[in-house]
């Protein structure tokens, strides 16, 4: 079994190395065969491991090798295989496999084909190492490695100024999160003397009352500080407010990776991490409140931004932000299993939605503006049905997977009583309406109504449309000082892409390598919640992998009210969230199918609010102005005034000048006349005699 554990992450790594280092030799077919084979092996291996863990109950916790030792700290690389791990392994390898297959179709014209496969397989390896880790060090390894691959993939089309701006931004914002994460790990190492999960978790209750004094006179709970630091890491990776700013821009990457990395797996690493650390977080009410409130803010306010997006991928991206907020709320409510449950259902239906969006984009010839779409259901039936399934799951339609997970989150928050739970409850309930509205706004605009690309004036065949679609980007990114080349941004043609359909073109359904993954993801999007809610939430599936403190009753209360998935769904039909979701769908149908003048009127009436949303609450502008420009300004000042003027100017050249002046002054003593020297000598002798005599 242990060699199987090793095989699961290494198989994709081998694929990645083959495609990456020998891409030219093995060709396109060789590259996708090698990587798909690697990921398929990982998926099958994960299935065997899962069976072994779930059926036979064989968990594993052991080191692979000692990375380094120092002082009394032993740092290892090793695996922890428990129910939480295998669930993540299955989700990661399955979605990754789907995305690999899909990529054959999506990237078929791209010159970077092999490179792309290499990256996504490398990502799969990194993500597996992250979830299979048994210690904080390796967790951080995987954490940064997925960040690296994300950086590479967002900037995959490296000649696009927007893409290389977005990937740098994503990396740096994630680094802000990692800054907190490293300090959290440091606190754990300092106080627990170990980076091993099991050791740390076992010792955690004993340190529950330990305090640290960060400021003179203020004693803070060690675990609160450590957990909040760790959570800052999760905020970066899982794009929680206010470190969410990188995720919408990450849509610059090719769509398959938006599905794999920026929806299904990598961005959920933070959720996974907090779940893994439940024995620590459960001991700090403060940290849980922080988690809850941050999650609630993200869930609601990022949803609002989804309302006004016109880029199909950005709608899905804001929806992802909002859903990550839901998961985080569940963590804060001590409903870790619910958070992970939503992570899993979300991975399926959001990957589905992204891949379907990619299929639409292909059908539209790389036009991403939903205002130019419409009526696609006739032309792309598989994409249409699967998108509908994904959207229904996302808004929480009873019996769909999203219903079970999202409803459980809402109930868990209702049962939670820690500080901030009232606000969080409001946020997640209100978020249901928002989610339904933006999801179906997109759905109706894309698949129903008039075929708007046929309307003249858009001129899709040339680039004028593309400029319009990216006008929003210019607002958002145009402020980067290093972006002089920003204006001529439409270099997509370099990659064999051309924009938009002509008025007389018909979109075509995508090839089977694209539709097959859609169908395979649609199935779990419907049924996985129904099938697994019982064991995962109430059947003790997670066992010891998740720890819940005695004073947190949400899960226990919910377990009493749970009478099977059917009863839950039927009860759901009469609950507030269901009616809110329905209202969202109906309102969007009215707005975007029947009366498009209403949203236009609202937009005109509330132009102030609209502008705030358009500016994404001003975070990008503020970050650019304060952090990016501020750091450059400060750096410039330190360099000019500190290094150049003060150190070089005054200290170095100043002391050189001083030496020169002293030399010039002393030179006057060297007159060249014997009597001055003789006189000086006599004075010297007298002085020395005086000193000698006085001793």
């Amino acid at each position: 079994m242990q060699s199987l554990y090793l095989l699961v992450p290494l198989a994709p790594l081998v694929g990645a190395l083959l495609a990456g280092l020998f891409g030219k030799t093995i060709g396109r077919a060789g590259a996708h065969t090698a990587t798909i084979l690697g990921v398929a092996v990982a998926f099958v291996g994960s299935c065997f491991v899962a069976q072994d863990v779930i059926v036979n109950g064989n968990t594993f916790n052991g080191a692979l090798y000692t990375w380094a030792t120092s002082g009394n700290l032993k740092m290892e690389v090793g695996f922890l295989i428990d129910p939480l791990t295998v669930m993540m392994m299955l989700v990661v390898t399955f979605v990754s496999l789907m995305v690999h297959i899909y990529t054959i179709g999506y990237m078929q014209d791209d010159p970077g084909y092999q490179r792309f496969f290499s990256y996504i397989s490398l990502f799969t390896f990194s993500m597996l190492m992250l979830v299979m880790s048994n210690n904080f060090l390796q967790l951080f390894f995987g954490w940064e490695a997925v960040g690296l691959v994300s950086y590479l993939l967002i900037g995959f089309w490296y000649t696009r100024p927007t893409a290389i701006y977005a990937n740098l931004k994503a990396f740096l914002v994630n680094r802000v999160g990692d800054f907190g994460f490293v300090l959290g790990i440091g606190l754990v190492a300092a106080y627990f003397g170990s980076l091993d999960y099991a050791t740390v978790f076992a010792a955690a209750p004993g340190l529950a009352s330990e305090t640290v004094s960060l400021f003179p006179g203020a004693e803070w709970s060690l675990l609160s500080v450590a957990c909040i630091c760790l959570f800052v890491g999760a905020m970066g990776k899982s794009a929680q407010f206010p470190l969410h700013v990188w995720l919408p821009d990450s849509m610059e990457g090719p769509t398959p990776i938006s599905a794999l990395i920026h929806a299904a797996t990598m961005v959920t690493a933070g959720i996974f991490m907090v779940t893994r650390m439940s024995p620590l977080f459960e001991l700090s009410e403060t940290a849980l409140s922080v988690v809850l409130v941050i999650g609630a803010i993200t869930a609601l306010f990022m949803g609002f931004l989804g309302l006004i997006q016109n880029d199909i991928k950005r709608v899905v991206a804001y929806s992802t932000l909002s859903q990550l907020g839901y998961m985080t709320v569940a963590l804060g409510a001590s409903a870790y299993s619910v958070a992970v449950f939503h992570l899993m259902t979300h991975a399926f239906f959001k990957a589905l939605l992204f891949l379907a969006a990619g299929s639409v984009i292909m059908g539209m010839h790389h036009d991403q503006d939903i205002r130019n779409m419409g009526g696609l259901r006739k032309h792309m039936p598989v994409t249409w049905i699967t998108s509908l399934v994904g959207s229904l799951a996302l808004i929480g339609t009873p019996f769909f997977s999203g219903f079970y997970s999202k409803d459980s989150i809402i109930e868990a928050v209702a049962e939670s009583h820690i500080a901030g739970s009232g606000f969080a409850y409001f946020a997640v309930v209100a978020g249901v309406f928002v989610t339904a509205f933006y999801s179906f706004r997109m759905y109706f605009l894309v698949f129903h109504g008039k075929e708007r690309w046929r309307e003249g004036g858009h001129g899709h065949a040339d680039h004028s449309h593309a400029a319009a679609a990216h006008a929003g980007h210019d607002d958002a990114h145009g402020h980067d000082a290093g972006h002089g080349a920003h204006k001529d941004e439409h270099k997509h043609d370099d990659h064999g892409h051309h924009h938009g359909l002509g008025p007389n073109d018909n979109p075509h359904e995508s090839p089977w390598v694209v539709t097959l993954p859609l169908a395979l993801l649609a199935i779990p999007s419907v049924v996985i919640g129904y099938l697994t809610i019982g064991p995962m939430l109430y059947g003790g599936y997670f066992g010891d992998a998740i720890f819940i403190g005695e004073n947190h009753h949400a899960m226990a209360e919910m377990a009493e009210a749970f009478h099977g998935p059917v009863a839950m769904a039927i009860h759901g039909l009469s609950s507030l969230p269901f009616w809110l979701a329905l209202a969202g769908v109906v309102v969007s149908a009215v707005f975007y199918l029947k009366r498009p003048d209403i949203p236009a009127a609202i937009k005109a009436q509330f132009s102030g609010i609209h502008r705030i949303l358009e500016n994404k609450y001003g975070f990008d502008d503020f970050n650019q102005w304060f952090f990016a420009n501020g750091a450059r300004l400060l750096g410039g000042q330190l360099w000019q005034r500190g290094d150049r003027a003060l150190i070089d100017g005054v200290m170095v050249n100043g002391s050189a000048g001083l030496v020169g002046r002293i030399a010039g002054w002393v030179r006057h003593g060297q007159t060249g006349f014997v009597y001055t020297y003789a006189f000086t000598m006599i004075i010297g002798i007298v002085a020395m005699l005086a000193i000698w005599l006085s001793l």
Binding site: A68, S70, G71, E144, Y158, L172, R175, G642
Partner: protein, 495 residues
């Protein structure tokens, strides 16, 4: 003390020097390839000699190994005494290893005074080995000063347009810094009743006042070498003017001499002063990390940027040393070794670009990846290592130092950890502007990807960077005993 059959350390010092003199003798500008091959043989031979130092090293003891000892100037009891412990040994190996890269990097690039150039590097390699291997204080001092001369010549002769200013600044800065060291050593000679053995000084009881004066005298020399803020301004100038090889040696090796001096002299000879003044050093180190990180951000010249990043990374080294935790001290040493690889590789990468475009200005580049994909891949790896990405060696030292810092003071760690953001910001922003994007101009358009010689150099360093990042245990294991012993000395008051 452990002794060996062959005088390995003597060979490690003198073989490169003898080869250097031989290269000088055979070299004529008419037939430079003889000089190149002879220099390469010398560099490889020099490295081969140090391999048994690694393989034959006993990691269980803190005592000096491969010891050689014979009188040199009997009148003052100055001895030709050599030996390495777990702290010094890796640097002898690293130095000899990097010398090969310097020779190879110069292969087609240096065309004027080839033999002199190569000879200077070989001689310097031997002298630097002498610094790390010397167990006698005067012997150390002689090597320490002598290694200035070849570097001075390298910058002054093969440097850029402003080379004379840079060379003189470099020379005066470092020379003035080390004059007080000589005074301190002579004082210690009298105080120890006639010994120049460094090991004797470790045992020598000294009053706090004496220790502080000695500490400050050493500080002048070592802080300039490291370099620490605010005596760092010679480094960017020297780097900018130096040829690629000069930058590689400067960053990879000579900066380490200063940090090594702290471990060999300051800490064990003046432990009470070290504790007394630790706050000062830590403050200067953190300033280096944050202030220099910000300064690096705004550099328009790639070499200057990497030079400033070197100063910030060396800030981690001194920070780690003066927290007196095993984790942080070992982290500092690991950072020194890792920085040897990474900064060497970064300067080689910049050299690759400079050789083609004759510009180091970031603004002159853009879209290099379109023409040089293989190079871009290597450059990214080293840039990420420079930003401290896990699984590269750049992560190991920083991580250990930050972990050690949390144990001492959370805010030290807080300030140090800003390197995660700043390091990534200045390195990757540069990378973005140079490598990504559309082809910026016709010079970039005409670029050729790296040739086999360059590929071999970068691939070898990439292997080192990754290997050390994935499995640093072999490196840390070597130093455990010596670091424990050092910290034992530091913990014992001499008062």
């Amino acid at each position: 003390m452990v002794t060996s059959q062959l005088p390995l350390l003597t060979l490690a010092i003198w073989v490169p020097i003898v080869f250097g003199l031989a290269v000088l003798a055979v070299g004529r500008d008419a037939a430079p390839s003889n000089a190149r091959w002879l220099a390469l043989i010398g560099a490889v031979a020099g490295f081969a000699i140090t391999v048994p130092l690694m393989t034959g090293f006993d990691t269980s003891t803190a005592a000096l190994q491969f010891v050689e000892d014979r009188p040199w100037v009997p009148a003052f009891n100055i001895r030709y005494q050599l030996g390495v412990d777990g702290i010094a040994m890796p640097f002898v190996v690293l130095n000899s290893f990097m010398t090969i890269f310097v020779v190879v990097a110069a292969w087609e690039v240096i065309t004027s005074r080839v033999s002199q150039y190569l000879a200077a590097f070989l001689i310097m390699s031997g002298l630097i080995n002498g610094v790390f291997a010397a167990a006698d204080a005067i012997l150390f001092y002689v090597f320490f000063e002598a290694m200035l001369i070849p570097m001075y010549i390298i910058i002054g002769v093969w440097g850029g347009p402003n080379r004379v200013y840079a060379a003189i600044k470099f020379f005066l800065y470092t020379l003035l810094g080390s004059l007080l060291t000589l005074v301190a050593l002579i004082y210690l000679f009298y105080r120890s009743e006639g010994s120049f053995q460094i090991a004797d000084y470790h045992m020598l009881p000294l009053t706090l006042q004496e220790q502080i004066l000695i500490f400050l005298a050493f500080l002048m020399a070592f802080a300039v070498k490291v370099p620490m803020w605010p005596v760092h301004t010679w480094l960017p100038d020297a780097h900018v003017e130096a040829p690629t090889g000069g930058s590689v040696v400067l960053a990879a090796i000579t900066l380490k001499v200063g940090a090594y001096g702290f471990l060999r002299f300051s800490l064990p000879i003046a432990p009470d002063a070290s504790h007394e003044l630790a706050g000062l050093i830590i403050a200067l180190s953190l300033i280096a990390v944050v202030y220099i990180g910000l300064v690096a951000l705004v550099q328009a010249d790639m070499k200057k940027l990497v030079a400033y990043s070197s100063i910030a990374h060396m800030g981690f080294v001194t920070l780690g040393f003066f927290m007196f935790e095993p984790l942080s001290v070992e982290g500092g040493i690991v950072q020194m070794i890792s920085h040897g690889f990474i900064s060497g590789a970064m300067f080689l990468c910049i050299g690759v670009l400079y050789d083609r475009m004759h510009s180091r200005q970031i603004a002159d580049y853009g879209g290099v990846v379109n023409r040089m994909p293989t190079f871009a891949a290597f450059f990214l790896l080293f840039a990420m290592a420079n930003a401290g990405l896990p699984a590269t060696s750049g992560f190991v030292g920083e991580f250990m130092v930050i972990l050690g810092a949390v144990q001492v003071n959370f805010w030290y760690a807080f300030a140090a950890a800003t390197t995660l953001i700043l390091g990534a910001a200045y390195t990757l922003w540069m990378y973005k502007r140079v490598v990504f994007g559309d082809i910026a101009n016709h010079h970039v358009e005409e670029l050729q990807d790296i040739n086999r010689r360059e590929f071999l150099m970068l691939a070898t360093l990439a292997f080192c960077v990754l290997a050390m990042g994935l499995w640093p245990a072999p490196v840390t294991d070597v130093m455990h005993a010596s670091v424990d012993n050092l910290l034992h000395h530091v913990a014992q008051s001499k008062l």
